[in-house]
């Protein structure tokens, strides 16, 4: 970035992922994960000048969930914002705050605790507008199946068919998830502690009506990639070493990988398939972004892209490009 816009690094991450948390409240999970992230970078909350959080009210059973999350996320006494459209957007907004020079070190916390709900599918159902879509029982799995039906003619995954053509093995495993990250401006941390540099982000939301989109086209993803290509700061996917893709099904992961035009050396979802990595729809992209950061931090990749989707059949997409070096150019 130019002199007036600092380079941004991820200097801490912590994750809690489990199928079902019964002994801790959601607030306690958020507190523990946030503390772990800060401690991992030898920071306390006093080193943070802004907090950006993201959760979904209906999944967690809290109305205006920023309220209960304010304490455990370290937001009390601080500038705190909730970007509720997707956990991925918390990362994006936190990044923009540092770019803008508005904050030096931002804590980003995204979560989803589906075990709070007796029927998490029902929480997803109320994402459907009440006039037509709710009657057909739309939820993320059904929407993912609609998308997959355009990508392949027959089931290919492991296990029984859940929603044709998707099998159990094609679908993300859902569980209670909290991610906490610290984004920091170059100069605000000891050089060398960075886990990865965040070079650029692109994001876009497409049409709500499933019938108005070509679900196989991934237009919001293309728009996100185009934004970054126009800026020319981050390497394009053709130069990535790794891609972590939080799509709604394995067929979609494959289709996205094809669309990206990755080099043959690139590894897709090295952190695990959708069935292996516990996450939940609200944070499924953030989970993959954290995995991409991990690939960089481990030295397994020099440039890694994290991709997330939100809404039915990927109505929205978010891409974040991480690198071992700041200001790497394509």
């Amino acid at each position: 970035m130019t002199d007036s816009h600092p380079s941004v690094a991820v200097i801490a991450t912590a994750t809690t992922q489990l199928e079902r948390e019964t002994t801790r409240s959601l607030e306690e999970m958020i507190f523990d994960t946030t503390r772990a992230a800060l401690a991992g970078a030898c920071l306390t909350i006093d080193d943070i000048d802004a907090v950006v959080v993201s959760g979904n009210d209906e999944t967690d059973g809290r109305v205006i969930s920023i309220m209960a999350a304010s304490g455990p996320s370290g937001g009390v006494g601080r500038d705190l914002t909730m970007t509720a459209s997707s956990g991925d957007h918390a990362l994006v907004y936190g990044w923009m705050r540092v770019l803008a020079g508005q904050s030096r070190r931002v804590l980003v916390v995204g979560w989803s605790k589906p075990s709070e709900g007796v029927d998490p599918d029902h929480a997803e159902l109320v994402e459907a507008e009440p006039y037509l879509l709710r009657n057909v029982g739309m939820n993320h799995t059904a929407a993912a199946a609609l998308q997959a039906s355009l990508l392949q003619d027959a089931p290919t995954g492991d296990g029984p068919v859940v929603a044709w053509p998707l099998t159990h093995g094609d679908l993300p495993v859902r569980g209670d998830t909290v991610h906490a990250l610290v984004l920091a401006a170059e100069g605000s941390f000891e050089p060398g502690i960075e886990q990865a540099w965040l070079l650029d982000c692109g994001w876009a939301t497409g049409a709500y009506e499933l019938g108005q989109r070509d679900l196989a086209d991934f237009a919001p993803l293309r728009a996100s990639l185009d934004q970054m290509a126009a800026r020319g700061i981050a390497p394009e996917p053709g130069a990535w070493d790794a891609a972590e893709i939080g799509a709604d099904s394995e067929p979609s992961v494959r289709a996205v990988a094809d669309l990206l035009g990755l080099p043959s050396r690139a590894v897709v979802n090295a952190s695990g398939s959708l069935a292996d990595v516990i996450t939940a729809p609200h944070v499924q992209g953030l989970t993959r972004m954290v995995s991409a950061i991990g690939r960089i931090a481990e030295g397994a990749a020099s440039v890694a892209g994290g991709i997330g989707f939100h809404g039915f059949a990927g109505q929205g997409a978010t891409v974040a490009v991480f690198a071992a070096q700041k200001g790497a150019h394509a």
Binding site: D57, R62, V63, T81, E129, G206, Q212
Partner: protein, 397 residues
């Protein structure tokens, strides 16, 4: 320093219900009005920040995804902010960051709400509080503010007449504002005689449940200069939060009394410092401050530095803060949140009204010569605070 300006503000006339439009259509109205005010089209908008507080009030989870097409934002960078009641303004602050980051030149913040149509708003809002401790008692926005008002009266030897003075002022202002929901003036006696909701809050002290849409278009300094766009400049902004637990706001070890708005004062201070404001009472011409009930405006005015703690009632009795006042800022010339409250965009309306004032576009409620304005919003159980200072030019304030 990449300055950011507000190029235009649009709002619908707020009412109780709008049975003539669907929710997405209502949102569209707000978008169109904002773009028209800025003399721009959706093609020129680079990104959208959408304000939406509880989904439960419109009945669709992640309702922002439902309206993206109505907004005309399909395919654009789009994100939603939910800071409770402060949302409309937190979204504006988020949009400011979009532009100040250097990534975007034109960002739209527009949305709508239809609070009365949920039918069980207060029951829904009861679920804001702690799961284990605070759901079995009927905490809601009315009881939480009633307790704050009661405590203010107790600490500062104030009474319901002081609250009624705020109502009388705001309803007078709103009677001049063609967009306000409540447009009839009210006397102090009428306020005192009105039905009690939760003591000491009476109907005459409380905001309506409004249906309305609003939006602002924000542009970068570079864009404004290249295209000759007249803007209200953002000179400072601030956000702060306090504890969820209202019980922590009393007792000898509290840091912010529930009677006061100390955390809001910190947010104001952050904005003032950036803007170079050291004497708010003297330097600010107009304040559009979020106060859904009359009692709230008392401590907000104090948090803004316009009166000492407990001093707002006396200032009101002296005729301050009213359109036509000879010294100090005019507070809520639009009638404020007390007269118009479509929750998701109420904070946006504060910014828009303040912008209109410094742009000289406020019509019947214009404060003569307004050059510096401050806007503020409150969310959660008096928990989240956003503030913004605007001015006509970029000269020293």
């Amino acid at each position: 320093m990449n300055h950011v300006g507000i190029a235009g503000f649009g709002q619908t006339k707020a009412v109780t219900t709008r049975s003539d439009v669907t929710f997405p259509e209502l949102v569209r109205e707000g978008v169109d009005l904002a773009l028209a005010a800025a003399n721009m089209t959706m093609d020129q908008v680079d990104a959208v920040v959408y304000p939406l507080a509880p989904d439960a009030l419109i009945g669709v989870n992640n309702g922002e995804r439902w309206v993206v097409d109505a907004i005309g934002a399909t395919g654009k960078p789009f994100m939603r902010v939910n800071n409770g009641g402060a949302t409309g303004m937190s979204a504006v602050l988020t949009a400011w960051t979009h532009i100040a980051s250097g990534l975007f030149d034109v960002v739209l913040v527009a949305g709508a709400d239809r609070v009365s149509e949920s039918g069980s708003a207060q029951s829904v809002l009861n679920k804001m509080w702690d799961v284990g401790y605070e759901r079995t008692v009927p905490l809601n926005t009315i009881t939480m503010l009633a307790m704050s008002a009661q405590r203010y009266m107790q600490l500062y030897d104030s009474d319901e007449v002081d609250m009624a003075l705020v109502s009388e002022k705001n309803r007078y202002h709103a009677s001049l504002n063609p967009y306000a929901h409540l447009q009839s003036s009210i006397t102090v006696a009428e306020v005192l005689a009105s039905r009690t909701l939760a003591w000491p809050i009476k109907l005459g002290d409380a905001c309506p449940s409004s249906t309305g849409a609003a939006g602002v278009v924000m542009v970068s300094e570079r864009y404004a200069k290249e295209h000759g766009v007249e803007v209200a400049w953002v000179r400072g902004l601030g956000q702060n939060s306090e504890t969820l637990f209202m019980g922590d706001r009393v007792g000898p070890k509290h840091v912010g009394d529930h009677a006061d708005a100390d955390a809001l004062a910190v947010a104001f201070e952050r904005a003032y410092r950036q803007a170079g404001i050291v004497d708010p009472f003297a330097q600010i011409d107009v304040a559009e401050v979020y106060a859904p009930f009359s009692s709230v405006e008392l401590h907000v005015v104090e948090a803004a530095g316009f009166a000492p703690k407990g001093g707002a009632p006396q200032a009101l009795r002296e005729g301050k803060f009213r359109l036509g006042a000879t010294e100090g800022p005019v507070v809520n010339p639009s009638g404020g949140t007390q007269c118009t409250n479509p929750i998701a965009v109420t904070g946006t309306i504060r910014v828009g009204e303040a912008a209109n004032q410094v742009l000289g576009r406020a019509g019947a409620i214009q404060v003569d010569g307004a050059r510096v304005a401050v806007a503020s919003a409150i969310g959660g159980d008096h928990q989240f605070y956003s503030t913004m200072v605007l001015s006509t030019d970029l000269e020293e304030i």
